[in-house]
Symmetry: C2
Subunit: 363 residues, 2 copies
């Protein structure tokens, strides 16, 4: 299933290598320009509302042994990736690291996996091709979907047509590493509900919430994998469905929401590919802790610290988040999704979510 995308990715990579030749020919020292990847060179793109790199760049140049070695490694990696695409193979970041031990030039081999990971990120940035399109698989696996969605997944063994309720077990449909192999065929869904914890995901499925409300329940499994964020974005864009994010009420969970909605600093070059700025936070909100008198735990020092950081984080500079975060600091408490069970096992699906969806104008 070598595709057009593969051919484009391969061409972009080879272009990079070709630049070095051109530089040699012009009598220049080979070099590669990259955006500076530090916190000070990240900005919120006001229009798209996602994180992007600023204008500052750094240069990797062969004018030092260290720099020359970096470019050598880049060239070997480009060759490996180009071959991989041509042969329609794929590999993990860790395999790439180990595989470099078999390269004929010792200087091109990676010293540790941070180095090879970093290089792949650099190549993503300069070639504007995503890691998935290089056929590099993550170690982390994607999560699952349950809901009224019929899709076709292109696999190495042929196409598979799967309905994410009728053709799967209670565990749901397992999102593949590269969700761009999926085509959405049809859907009766009204909205997407991304859920942080497995316990809550199972509660919603047991209570038939996906069926009753036309919800595509996407399990985030804590901090979501790239594949999970990517498919959420595609579901939003292609099916024009509102995206809601349902997490615990604590600062770490708001970061999970942030990574779905605005992307992360680490992958600012991928925000357009991974982030869904239209995503809305459905709960648990600090105000829900008060309103529903939920069982709570006290905020720890590191929770307080994280909340205070969020108050100065441009992603959370809205009236809504300021009010919620300040309320939380004020009451000094946090709550888990499953704390809703204190009001009964059906409270979340009979009362909490329907009320929130109505408030948000979604259902």
């Amino acid at each position: 299933m070598s595709t057009d995308t593969d051919a484009t990715a391969r061409a972009q990579l080879i272009d990079l290598a070709a630049q070095f030749y051109d530089q040699f020919e012009l009598g220049e020292i080979p070099h590669m320009e990259l955006p500076t990847r530090s916190k000070t060179n990240i900005e919120l793109d006001e229009e798209a509302n996602v994180w992007v790199y600023g204008d500052r760049t750094s240069t990797r140049s062969a004018n030092s042994v260290r720099g020359a070695r970096k470019l050598l490694k880049a060239v070997y990696t480009i060759e490996f990736l180009a071959d991989q695409l041509e042969q329609d193979r794929s590999s993990t970041l860790r395999e790439l690291y180990y595989l470099s031990e078999s390269w004929d030039n010792k200087e091109a081999q990676f010293n540790d996996q941070d180095e090879s990971n970093q290089l792949i990120e650099d190549l993503e940035i300069v070639s504007e091709v995503t890691r998935e399109d290089f056929h590099m698989r993550p170690e982390e696996s994607g999560a699952t979907i349950m809901g009224p969605l019929f899709l076709r997944e292109q696999t190495r063994r042929g196409d598979r047509e799967i309905h994410c309720q009728e053709d799967v077990g209670e565990g749901g449909y397992q999102i593949p590493n590269n969700p761009d192999t999926i085509e959405f065929l049809s859907s009766d869904a009204e909205f997407i509900l991304c859920v942080e914890t497995g316990g809550m995901r199972d509660r919603l499925v047991e209570n038939g919430f996906d069926d009753d409300y036309g919800a595509l329940v996407v399990h985030l499994k804590g901090q979501p994998a790239r594949a999970t964020r990517r498919i959420t974005k595609r579901l939003h864009d292609e099916l024009e469905l509102p995206v809601t994010v349902f997490t615990d009420a604590d600062p770490w969970s708001y970061r999970i929401f942030g990574s779905v909605a605005y992307g992360s600093i680490k992958s600012a070059h991928l925000s357009e590919y991974l982030a869904t700025p239209q995503a809305q936070f459905i709960g648990i909100q600090p105000s829900d802790i008060v309103e529903y008198d939920l069982p709570t735990d006290p905020l720890t020092d590191s929770d307080i610290n994280a909340l205070e950081n969020e108050l100065t984080d441009p992603r959370f500079q809205t009236d809504y988040w300021e009010e919620q975060i300040e309320l939380q600091l004020d009451i000094g408490k946090k709550a888990e999704q499953q704390a809703l069970a204190a009001r009964g096992l059906d409270f979340v699906t009979d009362t909490y979510l329907p009320e929130r969806l109505e408030e948000m104008g979604i259902f």
Copy 2:
């Protein structure tokens, strides 16, 4: 889908509560007897080759306020579970903890989740019904299967017939929380290959190893969830397939093998339900590190400590394990599964696994 199993589980629970009534009637102080759950009361059952509790027991008695409160909590929990089974509902351990806040008697409410978790384990032991049969779901989700297996899963939405190669995407079949809802319809599999890491699982699937060798590839995802160990045992027992376990070459991974094969101290009461004593370790073996000159990392102090502990662990008291562990201590190195990539991406499926399977007499 309230089943015979549900009715039996419910009856066993109600029997427990009935015992308290009988004790009251006889003028006895209500009490409950449990095997002592400490490391000194665990033994390896020589015949079944799994961990079980020894003969020592402890008594929970209402002869102190503390003891009376424990029994009160047990009675409330039994009532909750009996209702849950009757209504064909299920819940997570965390939901049970929060739900107790809605109980009318404050004394019956749990102080923390350890307490409710512990009580459910106690009830498993005295009633001889597993948590899954109480319809208590874990927080951890099961892993995935890919391979020549056709099964029927009983779900709340009706039965689903799924072939674990033809009807699933590249992510495979997601094992449900309670795999006893699965019936194996047919299988062309030759053996089961439980794989520790996602990267290696994906490599095997990409290379078509499940197809070429009739392997059911079960992803363990690190330390396997109960659902994953349960389905592995059932695949072994019901389809009469050899079970092999493929992990990194380090002491923590040998513990993963140990928990598949012999069970764990924490869940010694479930060994017969979860453990597969016939499981064999396929690799990576310390001797493979030497033979294939694999890329390694040095053993840390805690690795060395863990290996030394394993040498005195009855589960590893075999010539094979003593030789391998002593060799590893001797070379002072550990290796990851994906280190095989240093010999090329196909080495694992073309050479390493076929050779090991032949040595082990499996293929």
